[in-house]
Each structure stands twice: as C-alpha cells, then as structure tokens.
C-alpha cells in the first residue's frame, strides 16, 4: 500500500546522506543485518543508526524483519529498480516518436 504512494523524491532524500548511503551499501550485499551488527565499526550510537534506518524504511529502501527478539534490516531494491525500468520505457517511447518525427521532416 505504501509502496504505491512512495515518491522517488523520498528515495533520493533518504539516500542523500553519507551514513544512510553506507548503510544501504552494507545491506545491499544481501543478508538481513541486526542494528548491533550495523552499529559495529561505526562511530555512531545505536540510537543514531536506528534513526537512519527508520528514514530508509519510510522511503521503502530497507525493510525490517523480525528475527526472534531482534529486528533485522534488509535492502529492498524495488523502488530504485522500478523507477529505472519506467524511465527506460519512457525513453524508448521518445526514441520511437522521434524516429517518426525524423521520417516526417526528412522525406
């Protein structure tokens, strides 16, 4: 439901922060990871990392999954992939319209 309302602007805003970008990079390797794991090796507190994860979650880029008593976070590539696919589709239609324009003015 929220997936349908998500705007790319939210995705970009969420990614426009080095901490969040590095979290996405860590998570994009595939495995869901715990907050403790994501905090390890970072200079930020667990609370700060959690706050950044929630921003990414609201943008639909990561989602949390329960694993026993703890939440783990995993990467959700769908918003980024679907935007790219849509743009490729629109791009292809422009190519075709411009091919018709070319034929129209050159003949």
């Amino acid at each position: 439901m929220t997936a349908k309302r998500r705007s790319p602007e939210g995705v970009f805003a969420a990614l426009g922060d080095t901490t969040r970008l590095s979290l996405v990079r860590k998570l994009s390797r595939g495995q869901p990871q715990s907050i403790a794991h994501l905090t390890a090796g970072s200079r930020l507190t667990r609370q700060a990392i959690t706050k950044h994860l929630r921003v990414l979650e609201r943008a639909g880029i990561v989602r949390s999954v329960r694993a026993g008593r703890e939440s783990r976070f995993e990467f959700d590539p769908e918003p980024i992939v679907s935007l790219r696919e849509y743009l490729e589709h629109v791009s292809e239609q422009w190519d075709q319209a411009l091919a018709r324009l070319t034929a129209f003015v050159e003949h």
Binding site: S82, L83, Y86, Q96, A99, R100, F104
Partner: protein, 158 residues
C-alpha cells in the same frame, strides 16, 4: 542514466524552420505523434485532443503549453492524473503531478539539432507513472514498431 530526466539529441536533415513547424503546428505534430488535437498550440494554454492510434482513441491528449520561442524552444507540461480516459465533461488536471517536456532547436551545418528533454520524474509518485500511452507495455511498444515501419515505408516511397 539520470532518474529525474530523459534527454534525447538527434540531428535532422531538415532546416530549423521545417522542424519548428513539425513540432508546433498542431496538425503536423499530430501526424508524427499520433494524436488529434482540437486546436493550435498557444503559450500558456491547455491543449486537448485524443490519441489516434486504433484501439487507443479513448485516451485523451492533455498538455499545457509553456513556451513557444520561434525556432528555438517549444515546451509543455504533461499532467499525470490517475486516468486519461475520455470523459463527457472536460476535467481539470491542473493539480496533478506533471513532467515538463522541452524541445530545443539549433541550426547545424546539415540541418537541425533537436534536443528533447522530459523532466520531473523524481516528483512523480509511483502510482502515476503508468499513464495513458505508457500503460500498455508490450502492446504499445509493438504498435510503435508497426508505425515506424509504416512511416519509413511511406518516406522511401515518397
């Protein structure tokens, strides 16, 4: 690829004046874009019509013309409402999210350089991406190929 805009650059072997007319004369625009427009493009005004491709006549054309700087720049905004199906009374799409389409022309040694951009995709909610002539995925793409074949055939036989 940028996620906010699409840009196309093509060089046409035709004078700038010829390309300008194909873009801004509403009948000529309709020929290659495959749309029947109700009247001429006027800066600042709404342009209405409908798609002419068989099977898609129920889809409206709706745009708001922004700029018409002769032989230089033609632009319009495209609203992206939930549906562009024809309705009995004209609808107001002025509050819908939009993309901006710009055609820029420049003279070259052999003709005209045309740069087309469509921008504003980053502000378009996901449920508005599949609009009018874009929502028939395979079907429409297939038909585009047919049109292209038809037009090039017509061009070579002319």
């Amino acid at each position: 690829m940028s996620t906010d805009r699409i840009e196309k650059r093509i060089e046409l072997k035709a004078p700038v004046s010829r390309v300008w007319r194909a873009l801004t004369d509403y009948r000529e625009f309709g020929e290659w874009f495959r749309v029947k427009l109700d009247g001429p493009f006027v800066a600042g005004q709404v342009s209405r019509g409908h798609i002419t491709y068989p099977g898609y006549e129920h889809i409206q054309w709706y745009a708001v013309v922004r700029k018409m700087e002769p032989e230089r720049l033609f632009s319009f905004i495209w609203p992206h409402p939930k549906s562009l199906e024809k309705t009995d009374t004209p609808k107001d799409y002025s509050r819908e999210p939009t993309t901006l389409v710009e055609f820029r022309l420049a003279k070259t040694a052999n003709g005209t350089l045309l740069v087309v951009t469509e921008s504003g995709f980053d502000k378009l909610p996901e449920d508005r991406r599949l609009e009018a002539f874009r929502n028939n995925e395979g079907g429409w793409t297939e038909q585009m190929k047919n049109i292209k074949a038809y037009v090039s055939q017509k061009a070579t036989s002319a």
